[in-house]
């Protein structure tokens, strides 16, 4: 099942949510979440479901084993914990090291098996094709039919991070239920984000649902849905129209650029929409997942881009590959090597084709260049360039690098790739543009402009502006309420103070006392009136703002959901054959 299938939106999701809210108690809710996730995943086939369960069970066992070994090590050598390694007795030292070695063996075994399964599914077909191993066609057919289990790349990485975290002592090995739920939770199972186990397991027991959370979650979900069904899918269609990959489709220089641009938009909108939906779904039932995208197309350097693009994957490679290899605390040449490993792995992870490795190396080159400039840049006195200008230039440079990166990413056929690149560099005999392309472009110009703005934080900033104003009006109203309360207590203090003064200076002069009191009361009344009026004003201001804020949000949400359903129905639309030719 996919988030953007009608079955998910109209049946699975409402039923799941209602039952979830009805159920009481965290255990019941978690159990329902697990059941829902299993049903969700079962839609990709029971075979795949069995595979994911076996993988999770395997990781659970490995986690237990590592934990046992680590526990034994610490239990048998309490000195070590106290930081007195140097004074440990030799037997304890040996036992400690032995147990740690065992833990390391388990870790190695776990990571090896998990990645072997991933490699097996992902690359066997590629290897068979690429190196033409004279395998029987039956085997080949079988492998093709087996296909790629849904979300395998994502949940394998989650499990690897889990066993590694147990080994490093970041988390304790979890219960079978927890590991299972962590793996198959339907928000993340198909397309990430790759959330760490410790972030998840704490929320299995402690999370709360509030109206704010639910409404924010639904809002986020509907944004994601519209982004995917309305924008990304249409961008994909345009990309194919401008620069068709299949067949001997014709395209011009303009078409090559426009098609690649549409693909660039599509890939961001598509993927970030999935993340939006996952985050929203989580938020609706009280989960907080880290952001996976942070407007990558506004980056000012390639490094910056990768800090904003698919954050959970890049931080995975940082924490489980780059840092274990020595991080940045090693010689520069070693850093270059470490980075190369990371980028080749990043490339391989994205797909089973040579162009993905090339794509990884492509980014590696730019990352290294930027590191070199950073290292020796001060000598070049780059700071002298005007700030705004250099930022714009850097932005353009980043976008250009990313743009050609996606060209590389999209086209897996090398002959086609070089053909397209030649066309883009005006080194082919293709026409500059064709009428049909211009017509298509003009027919989608508003759509494309909208799609580009969606890639920038402009809309989010607008939303933040509104919500900040609302918050501000809340604070102002609260202050008025406080002032009102303070006024009453001040008045009481005043009255007692007056009494004391009167008693002190004028013995039993009730007239003066009365007069003073009357004065006080009048002042108090005036003050109260003034404050109440102000409160009333604040309150109406706040209510108005609130109505506007939630009104706009709700209307937009309705529109988003509505047009998403329209697009989803439209997606089943197949251009028909001319059966009446």
């Amino acid at each position: 099942m996919s988030f953007t299938s009608l079955f998910f939106v109209t049946v699975f999701f409402p039923v799941f949510l209602v039952v979830y809210y009805i159920l009481q108690g965290m255990r019941a809710k978690n159990a329902w979440l697990l059941i829902g996730s299993l049903v969700f995943y079962a839609f990709s086939g029971i075979n795949c479901l069995i595979l994911i369960l076996v993988m999770a069970a395997f990781a659970w066992i490995i986690g237990r084993m590592i934990q046992a070994a680590v526990d034994r090590a610490e239990c048998e050598s309490p000195d070590h914990q106290a930081g007195d390694e140097e004074f440990m007795n030799p037997t304890a030292q040996d036992a400690y090291e032995k147990n740690h070695k065992i833990a390391r063996i388990w870790l190695f075994l776990g990571v090896l098996v998990l990645s072997a399964v991933l490699m097996g599914f992902k690359y066997s077909n590629f290897l068979l094709n690429e190196f033409d191993v004279s395998a029987q066609d039956e085997i080949k057919e079988g492998i093709i039919r087996l296909g790629m289990p849904l979300g395998l790349s994502f949940y394998t990485f989650k499990l690897i991070s889990y066993v590694a975290d147990v080994y490093r002592g970041r988390v304790k090995a979890g219960s079978f239920f927890d590991v299972m739920l962590y793996t198959v939770i339907f928000h993340q199972v198909t397309q990430g984000p790759i959330v760490r186990y410790d972030e998840m397991v704490s929320q299995f027991t402690e999370r709360s649902v509030s109206y704010d959370g639910v409404s924010d979650g639904i809002w986020r979900f509907s944004i994601g849905l519209a982004k995917k069904t309305l924008m990304a899918d249409h961008c994909g269609k345009l990309a194919d129209a401008f620069l068709p990959l299949a067949g001997s489709g014709e395209y011009s220089v303009f078409g090559a650029y426009a098609g690649s641009l549409c693909y660039m938009l599509q890939i961001y909108l598509d993927f970030s929409a999935y993340s939006d939906m996952a985050l929203g779904l989580g938020q609706m039932i009280g989960f907080k997942y880290p952001e996976n995208f942070n407007y990558p197309y506004v980056a000012v350097s390639v490094r910056d881009f990768w800090r904003r693009w698919h954050i959970s994957l890049s931080s995975f490679f940082r924490d489980y590959v780059y840092i274990p290899l020595g991080g940045s605390r090693v010689r520069f040449s070693r850093i270059l090597l470490n980075l190369l490993v990371v980028w080749i792995l990043t490339g391989i992870w994205h797909g089973a084709s040579l162009n993905f490795i090339l794509w990884g190396i492509y980014f590696y080159i730019f990352i290294v260049l930027e590191n070199l400039i950073k290292k020796y840049g001060e000598k070049l006195k780059l700071d002298r360039i005007n700030g705004a200008l250099s930022e714009t230039l850097l932005h353009i440079y980043t976008l250009a690098v990313v743009f050609f990166g996606w060209v590389l990413f999209r086209i897996s056929d090398f002959a086609k790739l070089s053909e397209v690149l030649r066309a883009m560099l005006f080194r082919s005999e293709r026409a500059l543009y064709s009428t049909s392309e211009i017509l298509t472009f003009r027919g989608n110009i508003y759509f494309l402009i909208l799609a580009v703005t969606v890639c920038t934080p402009a809309w989010k900033n607008l939303g933040n502006l509104l919500s900040e104003r609302l918050n501000h009006s809340f604070i102002r109203e609260a202050r008025e309420i406080t002032n009102l309360a303070n006024e009453s207590s001040l008045y009481e203090q005043e009255v007692t103070k007056d009494q004391v003064l009167v008693e002190k200076y004028a013995q039993s002069n009730s007239d003066i006392l009365n007069e003073v009191r009357q004065q006080d009361t009048e002042n108090h009344q005036r003050m109260i009136n003034r404050l109440e009026n102000r409160l009333k004003k604040r309150k109406s201001e706040r209510t108005k703002l609130e109505i506007v804020y939630y009104g706009v949000r709700m209307v937009l949400m309705l529109i988003f959901l509505y047009i998403s359903i329209l697009s989803m129905v439209g997606a089943s639309y197949t251009p028909f054959l001319y059966n009446q030719f």
């Binding site: 049946v11 999701f13 001997s248 490094r303 990768w306 202050r479 003073v516 709700m554 059966n579 030719f581």
Partner: protein, 569 residues
């Protein structure tokens, strides 16, 4: 006096306190310029510092978040620590600054935070409630509303609910099918699709638009008139022929795959229906045109098929009527050239130049071009109208040497509300929607009865001109001959001279045949896509005099020519 003084003192004290309250009030209300109270310097600075601290913390938070989430190969982790330290530092600063204030003020800020939660806000609650109700509504509609079974716009039966099978559940195909069925037959599908296309009309500017449905276009340049005739094809045994066509379909399936190594489980029935997929469509001035791309191989092949037929049937008159489409006739030649191939006329002349001169060759391009301001082509459909076919019929009569009937001789019928293939292929283009077609037809004088054999071999009775008032908007062209049948017989009881003709056609011929009825005793209509018998034998057995090909310009491809040839062997 003393009393008075005391009173004054008290008053002063009171007013001083009052002042303080006022100051407090003003200092708490930043930006309240309308208030009559003047904020003193102290109050303002305090609030400013408070605010700046708040924003500082937010800033630090944001930085921390980014550093947390991002891949920071160089300064990993250190930034995170720093930012958390910053956070920790900020807290005491805040406490320190608020110590400067009077106690009331401090109480105030504390209770502000407290009160903030107690202000009842129903916004989020309301939004949650509405959206949950909305999803409940979607659920009810999606689950219980009646589902459509047939799609008019796509002219196909919609997906069926799959049967549960263990194997299907294991490999997931059952669920895929279920998902497909669910979305394919979603309640109110047609209405939703209509609205979606309305939405898409906002995507861009310009009255013209282009719809690409076919990506692998081959466009050849039209050569000068050929010196030599196209070769006569040696007929192969039937079985081999079929095998070859099957291979074509096989390759179609493969090229359709988009490189994801997905095994195509689509049933092959769809591919079985010959004819091209909806081609590339150009829409301008509320009218759609299918773009024509010249195909050299197809042209030669088509001519050679005609030559082959003529060589097999030397005693019959072979007529070949090539019908241009609206793209070639109605659009400006330079625009045609920009979009695809222009000069359809040259194409026809070139093809005819390769044909045996004994074949009666009729290019109705000039005829239709002369009448292009009339309603000879539909706006939303790729066919010609009955009127267009009538002009071609007059041309045919001239070639055959008979007198054509005038339009006034026939009984005229008109069926409105026709939306053709272009309309649906352009995903219900808005400008086409505003320009629906109507089907004009002229009922033959001799008879209105036909006996048709459909593609499945079933025989049934129908009319030459059928009443399509009740038909769905997309099927009104079926008015002529009840659509495409494999084999149709029309017997005119008023003619007893034994004259007969066979028309070999695709759907363009349907509009043409009604005018022939009053000139032959027997008119046989063969749709080469569905006909399965040996037509040569049939023609020889029945001693048919006239063999008339009515072909549309889009049919001139090697594949179609092969198909035409296959019914003669």
């Amino acid at each position: 006096m003393i009393e008075e003084n005391e009173k004054k003192e008290n008053r002063i004290g009171a007013s001083e306190d009052f002042e303080i309250i006022r100051k407090l009030a003003s200092s708490l209300n930043v930006g309240d310029t309308s208030g009559a109270i003047e904020g003193n310097g102290e109050g303002i600075t305090e609030t400013e510092s408070e605010e700046s601290i708040v924003s500082d913390t937010i800033g630090a938070d944001a930085e921390g978040d980014i550093a947390n989430d991002s891949i920071e190969f160089q300064e990993n982790e250190t930034i995170v620590e720093e930012s958390t330290e910053n956070n920790a530092e900020n807290i005491p600063v805040e406490v320190f600054s608020s110590e400067n204030r009077e106690t009331e003020c401090k109480n105030g800020t504390e209770s502000v935070e407290h009160e903030e939660k107690t202000i009842k806000s129903y916004g989020a609650l309301f939004m949650t409630g509405t959206s949950l109700a909305l999803f409940a509504g979607i659920f009810l509609v999606g689950t219980f509303a009646t589902r459509p079974v047939y799609s008019e716009s796509e002219k196909r039966t919609l997906a069926k609910k799959p049967e549960f099978s263990m194997i299907g559940a294991m490999n997931g195909s059952y669920f895929t099918e279920l998902d497909k069925w669910f979305s394919d037959t979603f309640p109110f599908k047609e209405e939703l699709l209509n609205m979606e296309s309305k939405l898409e009309s906002f995507y861009g500017a310009g009255g013209e638009s282009y719809y690409g449905n076919k990506s692998d276009i081959v466009e050849d340049t039209v050569p000068e008139n050929s010196e030599t005739l196209a070769p006569i094809v040696e007929l192969k045994p039937r079985e081999q022929e079929q095998k070859e066509t099957e291979d074509i379909y096989q390759s179609l399936v493969e090229t359709n795959a988009d490189g994801t190594l997905k095994v195509d489980t689509e049933p092959k029935e769809k591919v079985d229906v010959t004819g091209e997929q909806a081609g590339n469509i150009y829409v301008s001035n509320n009218k759609a045109y299918e773009i024509f791309y010249y195909n050299q191989g197809g042209s030669v092949k088509y001519a050679s098929v005609l030559n082959t037929v003529k060589s097999m049937l030397p005693d019959s008159n072979v007529y070949d009527i090539l019908v241009p489409n609206s793209f070639g006739v109605e659009l400006d030649p330079s625009l045609q050239e920009e979009l695809g191939s222009g000069n359809m006329q040259d194409v026809f002349n070139y093809i005819f130049s390769m044909m045996d001169p004994n074949i009666h060759r009729l290019s109705v391009f000039d005829t239709l071009y002369a009448h292009r301001d009339e309603y000879v082509f539909f706006n939303t459909d790729h066919h010609w109208t009955g009127l267009g076919a009538y002009y071609a019929y007059r041309e045919f009569c001239k070639e055959k040497g008979i007198t054509p009937h005038e339009l006034g001789d026939f009984k005229y019928v008109d069926y409105s509300g026709f939306y053709g293939t272009f309309y649906f292929a352009t995903n219900r283009n808005e400008s086409l929607k505003s320009n629906p077609d109507h089907v004009e037809a002229w009922i033959p004088m001799g008879t209105n009865e036909i006996v048709a054999v459909d593609e499945n071999g079933l025989t049934y009775n129908a009319n030459v001109i059928n009443d399509v008032t009740e038909s769905n908007a997309g099927r009104k062209y079926n008015c002529f001959l009840k659509g495409d049948n494999a084999f149709t017989t029309i017997k005119n009881p008023e003619i007893k001279d034994g004259s007969s003709c066979v028309v070999i056609k695709e759907s363009y011929g349907n509009a043409f045949v009604p005018f022939l009825v009053d000139h032959y005793e027997d008119v046989y209509v063969v749709d080469y896509r569905y006909y399965k018998d040996n037509l040569t034998q049939f023609i020889l057995d029945n001693k048919i005099q006239d063999v008339i090909f009515v072909n549309n310009v889009q049919a001139i491809t090697e594949k179609v020519s092969d198909e035409i040839l296959s019914i003669f062997s």
